[in-house]
């Protein structure tokens, strides 16, 4: 796992930098919404799963995608979601101070999500966008 994890972390850092550059930075809001996966993750955290895990989020997000288009999501599909969560979305949301994320145990808990973000997330998700 070691070298792969390191290599993937480097890739993830590059993705984060690119996110930051694209965002043009208005606080954390833009970055929080930069991907639909991140937006849905926030929605799940805001609405029900205040204390959860990377694994449970990956399952919920894979299931969510399945209900978007009525197609089954496979273990490989879920692995892709899990990898994105682990290396990109959860660390970023943790950096923003929205959540606490322990990469080792995979535990995720809400710390402080601004009301404006919660409102925007709920509004965005109810627009029924495409899945991951």
């Amino acid at each position: 796992m070691g070298n792969d994890e390191q290599r993937t972390s480097q890739v993830a850092s590059t993705v984060l930098d690119a996110d930051a550059a694209d965002a043009g930075f208005d606080g954390g809001l833009h970055r929080a919404f930069a991907t639909e996966l991140r937006c849905r993750t926030l929605y799940l955290l805001c609405t029900r799963h205040e204390s959860t895990s990377r694994e449970e989020l990956a399952t919920l997000l894979a299931g969510w995608a399945a209900t978007d288009d009525g197609r089954m999501r496979s273990a490989e599909d879920r692995d892709r979601v899990r990898t994105a969560l682990h290396h990109r979305d959860l660390p970023l949301l943790a950096d923003l101070g929205f959540i606490a994320f322990d990469p080792a145990s995979g535990s995720v808990s809400v710390r402080s999500i601004p009301d404006a973000v919660v409102e925007a997330v709920v509004e965005s998700v109810s627009g029924a966008p495409e899945g991951p």
Binding site: R40, Y43, L44, T47, R48, H49, T59, L60, A62, G63, W64, A65, A66, T67, G70, R71, M72, R73, S74, A75, R78, V122, V125, S126
Partner: protein, 234 residues
Amino acid sequence: MTGFDDLMSSVREDRKQFDVYAPDDETAVANVLTAHNVDVKRRSLPDGGPGPFLVVKEDGEFAGAIPFSELDGLLEPPLQRPPALEGVSDGYRVLFEALDGTVFTALGRRDLLAVTREIEERAFRVGSGTLRACFQSFDRFRPQVDVYRELAGDTDLDVHVYGTPNWEVPEIAGLTYHELDGGAARRYWVLALEAEAGTVTNALVAVEREAGYDGFWTDDPERTRDAMAVLEAI
């Protein structure tokens, strides 16, 4: 007896788990799965989030997430299955396998006899087709001779009885005996019934262990024919 071993492992749903993600008042899918004696857990979903879906796990690992919209027709009898499970996504394969058979472990002879009687009575009712029964050894067939004499004589069933030759079996018209050698076959207690044109199918496959019998029974046509084929090949 690799054939029966393969059959048993293919329906061993105790390794399968189903997590139902649905609103609290949506209970139909969980109820259907529970009726199949599989491990079902209910999970909550936030309002406004994903629609209801089923997560299928095997050996604790995620095998697939299936939206409820895709389950229509899959859970209600007659169960609709793809013609072959090979090539089907893991999530569906695990689901179909769980629905196909009722697996048991450490079952006593009395319980197995009850299932056996049920299949034999069904054989009487259908009255035509093929019934194959492996009694492990012919002395275990002895108490059932009269039943099988009637099955062979009073119906149009093609009846086949298997066992190791440790008792001199009586000749019965319409009944064919198949002698097993002393190998692994004698551990298996098997019945397979297929009515004419496959309108009724039933199979019981059980292997004798120290603590009792492990196996499954099913009404799935494909699994029944598989059990039938293993016996035919003996």
